[in-house]
Symmetry: C2
Subunit: 208 residues, 2 copies
């Protein structure tokens, strides 16, 4: 597969989201100008980025939405199916298990784990909540690809120690801490407090 620059890769999920919406609305072709207005990005940036994927017709004829959508989806690994478990079946874990668009993209949340006996055994959106003591065995037997951690930081740090020795390939970390993991495990952090600090930074800047 042709190598795409990392700056372009960073923008791909957003292109994918817009192309997905266009497909939902049965739009078959779109010009870089129209896409530029929708996405609030310059048309020349769009042309440069999307040139990587070919598949656009003659000048003035616009992009084939489905072709671009599928090509970008391939780059983003969305042609594969992924087995995901969520550790921490609180509100945030349940929100992930209930997320409506995941299955469509090939993201299958197959179980949740928790240590609270009151929630173990319950079902959330058809996923059973299992005892976290069985997490590593489950990862190995079910070939889990991604573990989402929706736990307080102290517990996430403990669970990460077990995960470091498991065959899991990626961790989606929502805990308010950086995890200590081997380099071969992919980690994507979602630090909500940091996101909120970016807002308050901008608000306080306005007041200066």
């Amino acid at each position: 597969m042709k190598k795409i620059s990392s700056a372009v890769v960073k923008r791909l999920p957003r292109y994918y989201r817009y192309l997905d919406e266009l497909m939902e609305n049965n739009v078959e072709r779109i010009s870089s100008g129209e896409l530029s207005r929708m996405m609030n990005v310059t048309a020349s940036q769009i042309r440069q980025d999307l040139n990587n994927f070919g598949g656009f017709g003659q000048q003035g004829y616009g992009y084939n939405v489905k072709h671009l959508h599928d090509e970008i989806g391939k780059i983003l690994g969305l042609e594969s199916e992924y087995r995901i478990v969520v550790v921490g079946a609180g509100n945030l874990g349940q929100a992930l298990a209930n997320y409506p668009n995941f299955v469509r993209r090939g993201y299958h949340i197959i179980a949740l784990f928790d240590k609270n006996p009151e929630i173990i055994g319950k079902k959330i959106n058809e996923c059973e909540v299992l005892d976290v003591v069985h997490l590593v065995d489950y990862i190995e037997s079910k070939k889990v690809d991604i573990v989402a951690l929706t736990l307080p930081k102290e517990q996430a740090t403990l669970v990460a120690k077990d995960l470091a020795k498991s065959s899991v390939r990626a961790i989606w970390n929502f805990a308010h801490t950086d995890l200590d993991l081997p380099d071969n495990i992919i980690v994507e952090n979602v630090h909500l407090s940091e996101s909120l600090m970016r807002i308050t930074y901008k608000l306080s800047e306005l007041e200066d």
Copy 2:
């Protein structure tokens, strides 16, 4: 206040998080070398970044943790108090209302809003769930600073139209769409699907 470069500002929430942990553990001083090992950033990067804030003692004596923590907190606007409401009292909205560290940082979630009569009137972590038809009036009378949108995209788009005409200053958007808002409203997006796509991109890259 001295102008800090935007590259440094981007890194500040992470410094703040580490300094916060050091304070929790009663650490009073730390060298750039120790901080470098903890944060997995070069010591020279740390020295360059933190030079912006002064307040570090003599060579070899290390940084004063509390001083740095408080200076960075000021830049991030954490000396002020913020009134936040959450629109969408589902799992994700409830997760935000239950987030333990928010109050300590000056983030006060003062109400949730929903359109579902079964949840309106309930209390989540002492916050009442109100009818979303009263959202704009509430924003004006309570001087709400930040609105978090934890709604499906179609509903978020509708609510954003009302917010565009209100006095709210910032929107923390969790809906899977970009909102059309005037430039004077700060928008911070948390697009969870895009975060997951960054994982699957890296996973599929490994397989190439």
